[in-house]
Amino acid sequence: MYYAGVDIGSTMTKVVIIDGGDDLLSVIKGPTGPEHRQLANQVMAQALEQANLQIGDISFIVATGYGRVNVPFADRQMTELSCHARGVSVLFPDARTAIDIGGQDAKCMKIDAGRLVNFVMNDKCAAGTGRFLEVTAAALGINLEDMGDISLRATDQVQISSLCTVFAQQEVVALLSRGEKLENIVAGMHSALAGRISTLARRLAIEPRVVLTGGGAKNTGMVEAMREKLGCAISVPEEPLITGAIGAAVLAKEICLKTADEHGTPPAKPRRLEKATFFIEENP
């Protein structure tokens, strides 16, 4: 039996297909773009191709992420909070705290017995999300992918005082032109973001193991800054972007098996892999 998780995030869409033994059969990631509801079926089709399967072979599909309502071929929607918590637990069975640093939000999750038990989220202010790094990197003329390495070469940390991402852009450019070293500015940016996210996380009791996920976890400078602010060890999965999709796939398996236990195996659902639309096309 096969199960799939579809995680439509604000920046990236991720699809994971697993078999009954939780082995990853395929993993596909792509940029979400503004028309995300038209994309889910395409990414799913790629994942099926990679796994050498048809849509009808998948027993249960869970959709998650901010675009989860736009996956018409999904059997269930669950929030990315539950899915990340589950996914992190599969990769790190002793995980108690997960922190996801995304492009447009930051989530902190408490985990118990592999399940989400509590959470806090920031999705109101860009200064507490990956967007803060994107915007300030662009202002400094450097690539997001290089920021980690640059910051690890810092000899000092520059304080970024702006609480607002937009004003921080001006601030970093002014710092650079005043002669501050780029590495030190970038380290300061990571420290500022890590400070905000760790303040959010402390609303929950932080217990080890602490796992960092999302795009922010791919940034070595960010991981180091979080380690410093939280004052504890931080684990990072090999592939930090797919924990939500993994969790969704595993939850898909668990829901499907539980339903089969209680009500018998349901008949195969006729699923059509098509783009979501809210409008009935008059002349298709």
């Binding site: 901010y66 959470f119 989220m121």
Partner: protein, 388 residues
């Protein structure tokens, strides 16, 4: 109402165009007095044949005018309320009675009065504690209100008239409590969104018409076949105000909202005004003690200096214990309107109290707009996922 609709559909109609009935009555020569807060003793208005009308703004209205008169990081409900006033949306009002329930209410009242030209405007000072001396002071404030109302209306506010008005409003409170009994079954017979519409309607109609509406709704609902379906969780929403059908629908998408503590819900109807030798004292005592709002300080009597956190939690939140048991509440949404200090400060203590009862809770903030419902939905769904 002129179009003959009744019960739930009447409540729905009033919710979508609240001022219609007030304007009809105004055209008939009646006088309408606005009040922004449920702490205002509406009985005193009814007794003088003035029609109380809750001026609470409109969540669907984008706030565009209030910025010239009020700061930005400020109670969004009061900003919205003033915004509507500045746009002339409540130009049918003959006056406003404001009250110092919170600082934004007090400050906005001043601004409201200076930017508008109502024939009548009265501000009531209200103490923060429920001590005997506070009730005495508040009674004095209500005497002051009585004087200015009598001067405005040209009528005497006799004890007899006030007693009659108290009876009618108490009758409404009793009917609302009976209505909320209908959310006890599983599934409940009435939706949270419908309760929001009904309470909004009550606050837009003269008390007798509101009582008729409640009677209609209850007989309609008892036999309905289109009630809510049973969901896995029974929620209580706790906060300053939840008067939006759209927000309530987000909460109810995957749960049954069966109880609230909100002034868009049952808060103003939970208890009765007791009869008293001095009816104004009876009103003062009811409003100050029985309205369960975070603005009132219930800790410590005069002269008390000993710390007793558990006792303090009990006096502030103990009323929830029986409600949670009787309505079989499986989760509480602690809803904050952004910048609301009184309610923000209650949240950690409320969470402690609910933890002590073993009731799961989640904290959700909104800004009294309908702009960001998707993040709200994610938080509610994630909360439900943790408790199902």
């Amino acid at each position: 109402m002129s179009d003959g609709s009744k019960g739930l559909s009447k409540a729905r109609q009033i919710y979508s165009d609240r001022s219609l009935r007030a304007r009809e009555l105004k055209a008939e020569g009646r006088r309408i007095i606005g009040y922004p807060c449920v702490y205002v003793p509406v009985e005193m208005l009814t007794a003088l044949d003035l029609i109380p009308y809750r001026s609470c703004g409109d969540i669907r209205e984008p706030v565009t005018e209030a910025d010239r008169a009020l700061p930005g990081s400020f109670c969004p409900i009061m900003r919205n309320c003033l915004d509507c006033a500045l746009k002339g949306k409540d130009d049918f009002l003959d006056g406003v009675v404001a009250i110092h329930s919170s600082d934004p209410q007090e400050k906005t009242a001043r601004v409201w009065q200076s930017y508008t030209d109502y024939p009548y405007f009265h501000f009531i000072d209200m103490p923060v504690t429920v001590r005997p001396e506070a009730i005495e002071y508040f009674t004095g404030q209500l005497n002051d209100l009585k004087r200015t109302l009598e001067a405005f209306s040209g009528k005497a506010l006799t004890a007899g008239k006030l007693d009659d008005a108290i009876k009618s409003h108490n009758q409404q409170r009793s009917l609302v409590r009976q209505l909320y009994e209908l959310t006890k079954p599983s599934p409940p017979l009435i939706r949270g969104a419908e309760l929001v519409q009904i309470v909004k309607a009550l606050m837009s109609l003269p008390v007798a018409e509101g009582n008729d509406l409640l009677t209609e709704v209850m007989s309609e609902v008892k036999n309905r076949t289109d009630g809510p379906t049973k969901k896995g969780t029974r929620l209580l929403t706790w906060g300053s105000t939840l008067d939006s059908v759209e927000i309530m629908q987000v909460f109810e998408a995957n749960s049954n909202v069966v109880m609230d503590d909100s002034c868009g819900g049952i808060r103003a109807y939970r208890a009765e005004v007791q009869s008293s030798a001095d009816p104004l004292e009876g009103l003062a005592s009811y409003y100050l003690k029985e309205i369960t709002c975070a603005r009132t300080f219930r800790q410590a009597e005069l002269g008390e200096s000993r710390k007793d956190y558990a006792g303090d939690l009990q006096s502030r939140f103990g009323y929830l214990k029986g409600i949670i048991r009787e309505w079989q509440i499986s989760g509480v949404i602690m809803l904050l309107v952004r910048y609301c200090d009184p309610f923000a400060f209650e949240m950690p203590s409320l969470k402690d109290y609910l933890d002590s009862l073993g009731v799961p809770s989640t904290y959700i903030e909104y800004d009294y707009t309908l702009g960001a419902l998707a993040p709200l939905r994610t938080r509610v769904e994630a909360f439900l996922e943790t408790i199902s």
